[in-house]
Amino acid sequence: MTRPVAPQARTWVGRPIRRLEDAALVRGRGRYTSDLPAALWVRFVRSSVASGHILRITAPAGAHMITAADLEAVQPIRPMLHKFNYVPIAQPILAREVVRFVGEPLAAVLASSPDAAEDLADQVEVEIESRPAVAEAEAALAPGAALVHAEATGNVVVTAQVKTPGYDAAAAAA
C-alpha cells in the first residue's frame, strides 16, 4: 500500500475538500436545466441510419423546426489540441448533408409543451440515402474503408506515441 503524499501547504491539489453542494443534491434539491420552468420545449429528430446523405427533411404544417440550414452562423464543435499533429474533426450542431451515426441529431422541433414537441417531431419526414458505414475501429483502418470524415484520410485522426518523463526508470524499478 502506498500512503498519500502529504500535500504542500496552501495548495488545493491532493487535499480532500468538503463539498458544499452534496446536502442539496442528495435531497433532490439540485436545480438542473430541465428543472427550470420553460416557455418552449425542444425535441430532436435523430438519424435512424449510421451513414448516409441527407436528401430532405420536411416539417409538418405549423411546426417550428430548425435544421443545419438555420445554423449557418453557428460554428461546429471543433477540438483544439495543439500538442499533436492531428486532423481536427468538426462536429456539426445538427447534421449537415451527411449523417455519421445512428442517433445523430438532424433537426430540432420547438413547441409549447414537451408532448406537443414530441408529436411534431414524430411527424417530421426525413429522407436519407443510406451509405456504407464502418462500425469497428479495425474495419475503419482497412484499405478502401468508407470515410467517416472526408478530411481524415484513412479514417485516422491522429497518430501519436506518448512517453511520460521518467517512464523508463519507473518501468525498470517496477
Binding site: 463539498r19 452534496d22 446536502a23 442528495v26 433532490g28 434539491r29
Partner: protein
C-alpha cells in the same frame, strides 16, 4: 389522444389530484405536475435508472410507467428520504464517501439502494454489485457508490441489532 383522466398520486405521503393524458409517463407527472423535480429523467427508456422511485414497495423506473398506472399507489421519491434536517443514513453515506459528483444519477441510486436495503440489509457484496450495476453514473466510477451503500448497510444493520 388528448382525453385526460383523473388520478391521484400519493407522493411521500402527500396526495396530488391530477388530470393526465393516458400516455403521460409517471416521471413526467411527478416532475411537471407535482413539482417534485428531485427524480430525474436520463435516458427515457429504462436503461440509466436515474428516474428510479419506489411504488407500493417496488423499486421502479418511473419513465417506464404511465402515471395512470400509479393512480392510488404509495409513491416514495428522494424528497421523502430525509427526516426533517436528518439525512437518511444512505444520503449521509453518499456525502461521506464521495458517492456523487454532479448528482444527476444520485436520486435514482438512493431510491434503488434504499429499497434493497429495507428488504435486506445483509446484502452480500456480489448482490450489492449486481443491484447497483442496473443504474448508470458518468462521474464517480461506481467505487464510491459501492462504498457508500456498503457503509450505510452496516449502519442500518447496527441500528436494527437488538
Amino acid at each position: 389522444m388528448t382525453d385526460k383522466i383523473d388520478i391521484t398520486l400519493t407522493i411521500n405521503g402527500r396526495a396530488h389530484a391530477l388530470q393526465v393524458e393516458p400516455r403521460r409517463t409517471l416521471v413526467d407527472a411527478i416532475r411537471d405536475q407535482c413539482g417534485q423535480t428531485g427524480t430525474h429523467i436520463g435516458c427515457e427508456h429504462g436503461v440509466c435508472g436515474a428516474c428510479t422511485i419506489i411504488v407500493d414497495d417496488q423499486a421502479v423506473r418511473s419513465c417506464l410507467m404511465f402515471a395512470v398506472q400509479a393512480d392510488g399507489c404509495r409513491i416514495r421519491t428522494v424528497e421523502g428520504l430525509a427526516d426533517g434536517d436528518t439525512l437518511h443514513p444512505l444520503q449521509q453515506a453518499f456525502i461521506t464517501h464521495h458517492g456523487l459528483q454532479c448528482g444527476f444519477c444520485t436520486p435514482g441510486f438512493l431510491m434503488l439502494a434504499v429499497h434493497a436495503l429495507e428488504r435486506n440489509p445483509n446484502l452480500s457484496d456480489d448482490e450489492m454489485l449486481d443491484l447497483l450495476s442496473s443504474n448508470l453514473c458518468r462521474c464517480t466510477g461506481y467505487q464510491n457508490i459501492v462504498k457508500a451503500v456498503r457503509s450505510a448497510a452496516a449502519e442500518l444493520r447496527q441500528s436494527k441489532a437488538p
